[in-house]
């Protein structure tokens, strides 16, 4: 177990030093979500906001509603991006050396996701500060709820990152996977439009993205002062997701290692 954590920490440290030494990465973590956030905010102005069908949204707190959305989004984005970066290790040959060592593959992949959680947290703090600065009054926070939801949110993000890591690492066309995952996440997980008002088919798609549940829980405890019992369902679903992602990642790693030892090829799909 000590060995596992050692590898995990070393990996996340390396990943941080290797990719985030380039300051430009922060453009993608702050500037892009911020520009998208502004675009979404102004596109709301086209509408009569008071006419919204969602009870807890009004002209006063719609900005905060969106900020929470983009805060979660940028967090998840950093996880996806770091997973995408890790897939470059296949081309650069360092992946082979990782495989040559007896280190736990899961530890490596988790460590990788962990590094981006750090970067994501910085982004999250900035968005959080913006929320408080801009419109403290519109917040209606249930502290116990928030304290419960945030660790779950982090866990979901971490494991989503680990799962994508496993997928990216063993896929041929990572660029495609990356584009296919990025935008739908923004649309379907309710960053801009709450999932609760989606038509049925869109709601089915939104179920795939863990960000959907994470955002719903965050908004409930931050805007609607919901206590744990009222976000119980979302929390339970998140815990199930954590288990599913964890086992999916473990299974993928296992299959890939077997496949690779048979074919000499890391690429699975």
């Amino acid at each position: 177990m000590k060995y596992f954590f050692k590898v995990m920490l070393a990996e996340s440290w390396k990943q941080h030093r290797n990719y985030f030494s380039n300051k430009l990465i922060y453009v993608s973590l702050f500037l892009w979500p911020f520009l998208s956030f502004m675009a979404s905010y102004y596109s709301y102005k086209v509408f009569d906001i008071e006419g919204s069908v969602v009870s807890y949204i009004s002209g006063g707190n719609i900005m905060v509603f969106l900020l929470i959305g983009y805060m979660g989004m940028s967090f998840f984005r950093s996880v996806v991006q770091s997973a995408w970066h890790f897939s470059f290790e296949r081309q650069s040959g360092t992946l082979e050396y990782i495989y040559l060592s007896p280190a736990s593959r899961m530890a490596v992949i988790l460590g990788n996701a962990l590094s981006s959680v750090f970067e994501g947290s910085v982004a999250m703090a900035v968005f959080g500060a913006l929320i408080i600065l801009y419109n403290k009054e519109s917040l209606s926070i249930n502290v116990i709820g928030l304290v419960t939801v945030i660790p779950i949110f982090l866990c979901v993000a971490l494991l989503w990152g680990a799962f994508l890591n496993a997928c990216f690492l063993y896929s041929r066309d990572t660029d495609f996977l990356f584009t296919v995952l990025e935008e739908p996440m923004e649309i379907f997980s309710g960053v801009k439009v709450p999932v609760s008002i989606f038509p049925g088919w869109a709601r089915v798609i939104s179920c795939i993205f863990p960000l959907t549940y994470a955002l719903e829980a965050l908004r409930q405890v931050m805007l609607n002062s919901a206590d744990i019992s009222s976000v119980k369902n979302v929390v339970i679903i998140s815990l199930v997701i954590i288990l599913v992602l964890l086992s999916a990642t473990l299974i993928t790693i296992h299959i890939v290692e077997k496949h690779m030892r048979k074919t000499g090829n890391v690429i699975l799909f």
Binding site: V27, L35, F47, V53, P184, V193
Partner: protein, 270 residues
């Protein structure tokens, strides 16, 4: 302009595309357009129950929000596709190591880029047509179509976007990066050029930034062709403005690019 180089470039690019058409790239762009439209559709129909703000029709000259947003997303897709291709051309040559041999040949850069642009425009028009069909499902309606105005708007757009691509190309060659620079530009365009909402909602400074990017004006003309709401005088005024701004881009872009190419090759040695 050297027609021989122009023809050769078109032929070469066409062959490359024919052999390895970047399907995922195209699909990615069509999907982006789809998501934009889908987002607008959700907001209009579900989030705000079709209730528009009172000043929307005054600012835009139409009350058909869906068509407004769909035309916006189509033009956005057109910009992304053409800019991406043309501006990435040189850096791709740099990365693949063919820039040096290109520089050795005493050809005119103008023809090379125009050739690229023409081919890309043809391809993108096809892709936009596909995206348009999707748009119809989401409620795209043509209210007032004038063929000549459309042709003028199209030619001016291509000219303006071409200028924009050259400048983006300069940035890419200089920073040797495509991922960050292209996406930053595209996200910024999406914000300031009035893709899904009238730019008048933006703060003054962002409106100004929007005005110096030719996409904003091109979009106004395109919307006027499909949705109406623009007087002829105003149309001509905006068209002139695009031509002017586009020319500034093109005539600073070319010499700048030439300079940067030299720097890029020197850097390669070091």
């Amino acid at each position: 302009m050297d027609l021989k180089v122009l023809r050769a470039t078109i032929k070469k690019e066409f062959q490359i595309r024919l052999r390895a058409y970047p399907v995922d790239f195209m699909l990615g762009c069509i999907l982006t357009s789809f998501y934009t439209v889908f987002g607008a559709w959700m907001m209009y129909h579900y989030f705000f129950g079709k209730r528009l703000a009172t000043d929307f029709s005054n600012l835009t000259g139409t009350s058909d929000y869906m068509s407004y947003a769909i035309v916006g997303s189509l033009v956005y897709m057109f910009v992304v596709r053409t800019c991406l291709n043309v501006s990435r051309r040189l850096i791709t040559e740099l990365r693949e190591g063919t820039l040096e041999s290109l520089m050795l040949a005493p050809f005119k850069r103008t023809s090379y880029f125009v050739g690229n642009m023409i081919l890309q425009t043809i391809m993108t028009l096809g892709e936009t047509a596909i995206a348009m069909v999707i748009g119809v499902f989401f409620g795209l309606k043509i209210h007032d179509f004038c063929f000549w105005k459309f042709v003028i708007a199209l030619i001016l757009s291509i000219y303006g976007f071409f200028g924009l691509s050259l400048i983006l190309g300069c940035v890419m060659i200089y920073t040797r990066d495509t991922y960050i620079s292209q996406n930053t530009l595209f996200t910024a365009i999406f914000l300031v050029c009035g893709i899904t909402f009238p730019k008048e909602y933006l703060p003054g400074i962002l409106q100004f930034v929007g005005n110096i990017i030719p996409v904003t004006d091109c979009l106004t003309l395109m919307r006027a062709d499909f949705l109406g709401g623009l007087t002829n005088g105003r149309f001509i005024y905006i068209a002139m403005r695009i031509f002017l701004v586009g020319s500034v881009y093109v005539f600073t872009g070319f010499p700048l690019l030439k300079q940067l190419e030299k720097i890029a090759l020197e850097k390669m040695e070091g």
